[in-house]
Each structure stands twice: as structure tokens, then as C-alpha cells.
């Protein structure tokens, strides 16, 4: 075990840090949360800068235009960009971290040549059409139907949680091509060009009042069979391959922000005259300790990925512990905030709004990307070998 960075890793860090220092002054101001055109411009603009400097697709293989960085270098990249307050991946998320990696492993050479460069260069924004109103935790129950008509699929159905749908160019879409087999077996993975006729996108407001997601309605949308990635009815496996691309770095930026939020809360308590309250100290001290421990776990997961290529269920362990921590941090914060907790905006000269929004974020974290209940099942079944859920036989 060694937590020190190698010389090569340190060199990578220094180069990146210098580059960030040199270019960040040129990055424009971040647009407001609801100005989607401007946000696309901002996010893809940053992606173009990364591309030109050789940092685009940091974890992608070199042969597909990525940097081929190790998981540790990816960690360093995320640390440094966070520390420098560089833009986030934003709406390049699906392309860079989900659809792109899937294409790298599963797509045909033609498909790769056609689609990968656009993602890396920031030309194309992707969205994800996986979840449906009736298929959330049970994703394989999806019903969005695709019927083959010559060299096209005709797709009708509804998708939900489709972030950035209204500004995206492509969508990684899961459709049902066979309803007569076990549910995992009849799914197909398609590339949907978002300018296809028959797509209706409706904004979906979240509990903060923001429009972060969308619902996507498909009405006889025609998708060329050439846009299929993998075989017909083999889409579940194709969709799951992305998991093998996850190298334990999924929550790094988020964790670093939470560490900041925790320090902020201590400062806040101090300014309120509550830092002498030993209960508040222990609560915050303990959360700070757990964040350090989760940071260590992150490094263990990354080291495992470096050695084996996979994180395995360690990602669920992280997610479960981190989510629980966010809930507790949010609750400590709201109790300290007292009446200021009634506002998502700052009250007075302290950044109280961050803590209220942080509390809401915690509520989402235990649901999004696999609910707490799903994570516990994964840990119990995959890591501890406990029996699976029994099949449901009515009452």
C-alpha cells in the first residue's frame, strides 16, 4: 500500500495545474442554471479547450482519441479541476462517461468513427434514454417499443430523467424489441439522433424548482438499423458494459465539494457562536472524519480498478456510505441554520443557501443512480453472497 503519487503522476499533476492556471482566465462566466443554450455553449466550449490541450476523454483509450490515462491520473484530473474551480463536465457527462465508453467497447468501426470524435471535441452533446416511468430501479422492465420496418426501427414510448434532452444531438436509447422473452433478453441499444421527427420533450422540474431533467415522448420515431449498437435483443448486455468503464472516480468532484461544504459548516457554526457547542463539534468532526475515510475508500477503489480494471461492488459501498453521510450533514446543517433553512437563497452574508440546497441534494443522492435500497441489495448479494429476492407469487 502506498498513497504517494509516482513521479509520473506528480508530473501529470503539475502540467495540468499549469495548464489550468493559464487557460482558466479565458473561460467565460458560468451562465444561469436555466439558460440552456448558453450552458451548452459553456460546457462544450470547455470541452473544446480540453480537447485541444489533450485532456479530452481522459480515461478513453488512446486509439479512440482519448488520453488513455490511468484511474489515478483521472483522480488527479478531477482533483485539480475541482481545486482550480474549472468547469464541470456538465452536459458532456453522458457522452464522455456513458455513451462514449459504450461505443468504444461495443460499436462497429463505422459507428466509432462517426460518433466518437464529436463527443471528444465538444461538437456533440448526448443524453440518456434509459429510465421510464414504469422502469426505475427495475430498469429491465422498460417498455419503449421498437418495431422493425425494413432498415429502420419504429420507436414509440416514453423516457424519463433524460437530462439535457432539449439541447442534445444524440441519445443512447434502450428499446424493447422482444416482449415475449425474459425482460432482460428483449432489449436493444440504439443511437437516436435528436433531430428525428416524432420526439417531444417536456421539461421535468425537480423539487428545487429547477429544470434539470426532461421527459421524452417518442411517437413512431424512425431510427436506422445502422444505428443499432450490438445485436438486436442484446442491448441489456451492451448497456451494462459501461459499468466496466467506471474506475471508481464517479463521485470524486462531488466528494471534494462535500468536504468544502463540511468545512463551511464548521466556519458557519463558529460565526454563529455555536462552535463551542460540543455536540455540534462532535457531529461535524465525525462527518469530517467520515469524509476522510471515504476519500481513502475512493483511493482503494481506484487502486483496485488500476489492478483489475474493475471497481466491482466497492462502488455500491461508497455510494451507500456517502449518501448516508450527505443526509446527516444536511440535517446537522439545517438544525444550525434554524430559520435560515426556510430559504434556498443566502440569508445575510453567510452562504446559508448552499447548505439548504446541499440538504436537498442529499435527498436526491439516496435515490439517483441506484437507490439506497438497491445498493444494499447489491452489497448483500454480490459481496456477501446472500440469496436473491424470492420471486413474487401474489399475496
Amino acid at each position: 500500500m502506498d498513497l504517494r503519487y509516482t513521479e509520473a503522476e506528480q508530473e501529470f499533476r503539475h502540467e495540468l495545474r499549469s495548464w489550468l492556471q493559464s487557460v482558466l482566465p479565458d473561460v467565460p462566466a458560468e451562465p444561469g442554471p436555466n439558460d440552456w443554450a448558453a450552458r451548452r455553449e459553456y460546457d462544450t466550449g470547455w470541452q473544446k479547450m480540453l480537447y485541444e490541450a489533450g485532456y479530452a476523454g481522459i480515461n478513453w483509450p488512446r486509439e479512440y482519441g482519448g488520453r488513455g490515462a490511468t484511474p489515478t491520473e483521472h483522480l488527479i484530473f478531477l482533483e485539480e479541476t475541482e481545486q482550480a474551480k474549472a468547469p464541470y463536465v456538465g452536459m458532456n457527462f453522458v457522452g464522455l462517461l456513458h455513451a462514449g465508453p459504450t461505443l468504444v467497447v461495443e460499436a462497429s468501426d463505422e459507428q466509432k468513427a462517426a460518433r466518437l470524435p464529436g463527443i471528444l471535441k465538444g461538437d456533440d452533446v448526448w443524453c440518456q434514454g434509459f429510465s421510464e416511468p414504469g422502469a426505475g430501479s427495475d430498469l429491465a422492465a422498460l417498455g419503449c417499443k421498437a418495431v422493425r420496418d425494413g432498415d429502420q426501427y419504429v420507436v414509440s414510448g416514453q423516457k424519463i430523467w433524460t437530462s439535457f434532452a432539449h439541447v442534445a444531438d444524440y441519445c443512447e436509447l434502450l428499446v424493447r424489441t422482444d416482449s415475449d422473452v425474459a425482460k432482460h433478453r428483449g432489449i436493444t441499444w440504439l443511437i437516436l439522433p435528436m433531430d428525428s421527427p416524432g420526439i417531444d420533450i417536456r421539461p421535468l422540474r425537480t423539487m428545487e424548482g429547477q429544470i434539470e431533467f426532461a421527459e421524452m415522448y417518442l411517437d413512431e420515431v424512425r431510427i436506422p438499423v445502422d444505428n443499432r449498437v450490438g445485436d438486436e435483443n442484446d442491448g441489456w448486455r451492451v448497456a451494462m458494459t459501461t459499468l466496466s468503464f467506471e474506475r471508481g472516480t464517479a463521485f470524486v468532484s462531488e466528494m471534494l465539494q462535500t468536504m468544502e461544504l463540511c468545512r463551511d459548516l464548521a466556519t458557519f457554526a463558529e460565526r454563529l457562536g455555536r462552535w463551542d457547542d460540543h455536540g455540534v463539534r462532535r457531529d461535524i468532526g465525525r462527518i469530517a472524519a467520515e469524509l476522510d475515510a471515504l476519500w481513502a475508500l475512493t483511493k482503494r477503489n481506484i487502486s483496485e480498478a488500476t489492478r483489475t480494471g474493475l471497481v466491482g461492488a466497492g462502488g455500491s459501498v461508497f455510494k451507500l456510505a456517502y449518501t448516508d453521510l450527505r443526509h446527516r450533514l444536511g440535517e446537522v446543517a439545517l438544525h444550525l441554520l434554524d430559520r435560515a433553512s426556510l430559504s434556498q437563497d443566502d440569508i445575510g452574508d453567510l452562504a446559508t443557501g448552499d447548505h439548504v440546497q446541499g440538504r436537498i441534494h442529499g435527498l436526491k443522492m439516496s435515490i439517483a443512480a441506484g437507490t439506497t435500497q438497491v445498493q444494499k441489495n447489491i452489497i448483500a448479494e454480490r459481496l456477501l453472497g446472500l440469496p436473491k429476492e424470492p420471486k413474487w407469487t401474489s399475496g
Binding site: 422540474r205 430559520r339 430559504s343 437563497d345 445575510g348 436537498i360
Partner: protein
Amino acid sequence: MDFWLSDDERDLQEGIRSFVEGRFPLEEIAEREETEAVIDLDRWREIAEMGVFSLRVDGFDNRSAVVAFEELGRGLVPGPIVATHLTAGLIDGASEGSAVVTLLETDATATVLDHAGQATDVLRFVEGGAERLDPGSLSLAAIDRPLDTLTPVWRVDGDVESGTEIAGDADAMRLAGTLLTAAQLVGVAAGAVELATAYAKEREQFGRPIGAFQAVKHLLAEMYTKTDVARSAVYAAACALDGAADDDVDRAVSVAKLMAGEAALFGGKTGIQVHGGMGFTWEVHAQRFWKRAVSLDATFGTVDHHSMRMAEMIDVRSGA
């Protein structure tokens, strides 16, 4: 001893419940979030006509009042109902629903006033009494994004000048206000359980209603349990305030507020969790219960505040 709803209390409960369900459907309440005025003043007068504001002035006891306020909480009826009720007979129009009276509280962080935009009067507790302020006399800064859109808030800047003294026993008002807010919180907790339970029975995943999964069942059982324990505390505090119990009134009221705040906060967040992804959408009401729980928990003292008060009331025996 008969610590069970009397027939009259049961009738009142049912009356308020059907009034709330009939006149304040959640869909309609949610629509008002998009407007400047979350309080529909016609409906506000209907609340007055139901006798809610004047309930205790009209001779009903605190036990009746908690039963009624629980139902108002359960239906997420918006507006400063407690403060208006407290000042019935003391501030013009409060009984009749022509006044909207809101409560001004200051804590270590700031002074955050809810419903200032529609308030006609402001109630404030001061050392040894209570006073009425004119909303116009306050330096108000609107907050764009309240946590609970149905509880719009304003920041109060600068010093607040003295208002007009309000007759009546300020301590008793404060206790009643704390108790009735606790009753609302129990209602919020109960509403959250009902909504989540209904969803768990209907929503299917993996070929079964999610309520058939033990993890979901157990979350709902915990919500229900906390709600029922808190309800017991609220009813007991009402008895104490009415002299229908031997318990210490201050203590009973702190217990009620603390337990109710905890039940509503837990129920609110857990209700969201049970709803899964839908739970954090705007259109689903689950989040509204949590937001209301946070707002009411920070009114008349948070869970933490009352935990400290409870500790102060423990008879720490001098070392023998």
C-alpha cells in the same frame, strides 16, 4: 382517565378533514405556488367561517384545537394559521379571516419572516409580552427561492421598532402556538405516511408493488410509528394545557414540539425516498411534506431547541 378522542373531538376531526379535503385539494394548493399569493383569501375566510381561527376564543379547548390543526397540517393548508389563530379576538379581523397575521421570530442567524407579502399584521413576542407590528414598518427583502414555495419568506433587515402591545397572556399564547404548530407537524407527518403508503401499494417494480418489499414496508412502519408517538405527545400536551392532566405544561409542550418536528422531518424525507425518482420531482407532492416539515420545525423552536429545554427540565439530582 380516558385518553381517546371523545365523540365531539371525533366529529370535529371529521369535519375539518372533509373541509380540508374538499376546499384544499393538494393539486389546487400546488397551483398557487406559481402565483405571488399562496394564500387564497377567499379560502382564508372559509377557514375563519369553519371557526378555526376563533376556535379557542369560541370556548373550545386546546384538545379540540390540536385535533383541528392536525388536519390542517395533514392537508398542507398554507398560510400563518397558527399566528392568526393566536391573535383571534386580539387583532382586528383575525377571527373573521380578514386579517392574515404572521409571526416574527429572530434567531442567531437572521430574522426570516414568512408570508410577509400577504400579511396584514405581524405578531412578535417580546420580553414579558406580545406586540402587534405593521408589516409596512419592517424593512423587508424578498427571498426569490424559499425552501417551501408555499411558505414564501422575507429577510427582515435592521432593527425592528416596537409595536403595539397586545393584551392577553403572552406566555400562554406562546405555549399554545408551540402546541398548535406541533399539531400541524403531526398532520404533516401523517400526510406523508398516507401519500407514501398509497404510492407503495400502487407502484410496481420487479413484478410486485414496491410495498411488498421489506425495505419499503419497514420505512413506512417507522414513519407511522414516529407519527403515532408524536401524536400521543401532542394530545397529552393539549390535556396538560387544558388542565386535564397533572403533567408540567412547559415540559409537555416541549415534548410535543420536539417529537412532532422529528416525526415530520423523518416522515417527509422518508416519504421522498419511498417515492424513488418521482419523489424529487416537483409534480409529486412528497417533497411538499418535507419542505413544510422543515418550515414548521423552525417555527416556535426546532427539535434541537426543545431538546435543550427538555434537558434543562430534567431533575438532575444533586450528587448524593
